[in-house]
């Protein structure tokens, strides 16, 4: 019987549930290893070699190398674990969160200072808010696309 997952119809949002956690186990545990300074040094010295020590999928490794956090999340990553990569790179949580919107760091920071992203149009897939698939990437990056 299908389990109740009512959170699949929210745009721009992946809920880290037991299924995602299963997919992302090794990816997230790799991230966790970066809590140790010695591991951070080894990772920075040769990222690919370090990743190859983990039984992650090739897609997961490529997403980490590209610092593509949206892709990491789609492949089972969780933001609190992925944040360890950001910490290794010297990035703040705001820089990491902002990177997933396509906005520049300044654009994202300005949005937050102005009160954050509105829920209007962003509650259900199919509405017209700024987090909807048809409006990616956001900010200047999206306007350049047109």
């Amino acid at each position: 019987m299908a389990l109740d997952k009512p959170y699949k119809d929210i745009p721009g949002t992946t809920i880290f549930d037991a299924e995602q956690s299963r997919l992302g186990y090794h990816l997230n545990q790799f991230c966790m290893s970066l809590m140790k300074a010695a591991n951070r040094e080894r990772f920075k010295a040769d990222e690919r070699a370090y990743l190859d020590e983990w039984p992650m999928t090739e897609d997961q490794k490529l997403a980490v190398l590209a610092r593509d956090l949206n892709r990491c999340i789609a492949l089972g990553g969780n933001i609190y674990f992925l944040a360890k990569i950001g910490a290794t790179d010297g990035k703040s949580f705001q820089q990491m969160a902002g990177s997933m919107t396509g906005m520049s760091e300044d654009e994202y920071r300005d949005m937050m200072i102005k009160g954050g992203r509105s829920a209007e149009g962003n509650r259900y897939i199919g509405e017209d808010g700024d987090a909807q698939p048809q409006h990616q990437p956001q900010g200047q990056a999206g306007r350049k696309k047109d």
Partner: protein, 284 residues
């Protein structure tokens, strides 16, 4: 007998801890936030508890994906501030209260809440940022703290209803402890925020404030809010608010006593990615 004197609710944004640690609290960006906690520090001076029972969540710090306890009670004598990847925060070691913690574990498990007992655990910003906001940056924290970690990272997280009922069981446990301790129960995390995906940065000021109103006046109603409402309206990480219901469920009015007094209420956007909410409720 021990008694719950008050409950405190606050967001626990890591950037607030970084602002404190890096001496940025006087920056224009942070001034309005810290100003909102000035009355709280005064209140804390005047209403110092013997123990704080502090409900928070671990952010992939003490608990990786190796083990994911839904409810974990810290029964150790002390807890070290964790290295979350930026080095440990320069805050005091957290002293526990093993005797009261063991008593609560015994009572609450007998009341059918299957707690995980943790005798060794580092504590992250989820626990230390609220202590800074209410106590400032002292050499030692003002009293022992019992850390109570809730899984809100991997779904399904516990429902608001279950958290609220757990609060009732914690109250019963504390009030059956045979020493005259004044205990505060704190619920932390939230309010609206989303840290992932193209919808990152979501804030819902109206929803947050309506939820605060409801938590104060209609906690039963707040406890009935389903997960999906938090996610849709307050962002994927807004789900942390279920932890506030543990503290609210432990208040006198829930057990037939008088309504609590609202000693302080504060709301501010933003702290980094997050809507910050704060309440102090006193038992009468």
């Amino acid at each position: 007998m021990a008694k719950i004197s008050a409950s405190v609710y606050t967001s626990h944004v890591p950037a607030i801890g970084a602002a404190i640690d890096l001496g940025k609290t006087a920056d224009p960006y942070w001034v309005p936030l810290f100003k909102g906690y000035e009355p709280s520090k005064e209140w804390m001076e005047a209403n110092r508890p013997d123990v704080i029972f502090l409900v928070y969540n671990d952010h992939a710090t003490a608990f990786s994906l190796e083990m994911i306890p839904t409810f974990a009670i810290g029964c150790a004598a002390e807890f070290q501030p964790a290295d979350e990847g930026w080095g440990p925060r320069p805050v005091p070691v957290v002293k526990g209260h093993p005797e009261l913690a063991a008593h609560i574990a015994q009572s609450v498990i007998q009341d059918d809440f299957d707690l995980t007992i943790v005798n060794k655990m580092d504590v992250d910003h989820g626990l230390t940022v609220p202590l800074n906001l209410l106590c400032g940056s002292p050499q030692e924290w003002p009293c022992p703290v019992i850390p109570f970690a809730v899984n809100v990272v991997q779904y399904p997280v516990p429902s608001g209803r279950r958290c609220y009922n757990l609060g009732k069981a914690i109250r019963k446990a504390i009030e059956s402890f045979d020493k005259p301790l004044k205990v505060q129960i704190w619920g932390t995390g939230g309010m609206s925020h989303q840290l992932q995906g193209p919808r990152a940065g979501l804030i819902n000021r109206e929803w947050d404030n309506a939820w605060l109103d409801r938590l104060i006046a209609d906690p039963e109603g707040a406890a009935a809010v389903p997960h999906i409402d938090y996610v849709r309206e307050a962002g994927s990480e807004g789900i942390e608010l279920v932890m506030w219901l543990i503290a609210r469920g432990a208040m006198d009015d829930v057990a037939g006593g008088p309504a609590p007094k609202v000693a302080h209420r504060f709301y501010h956007v933003p702290a980094s990615n997050t809507g910050v909410g704060h309440l102090i409720l006193e038992n009468q």
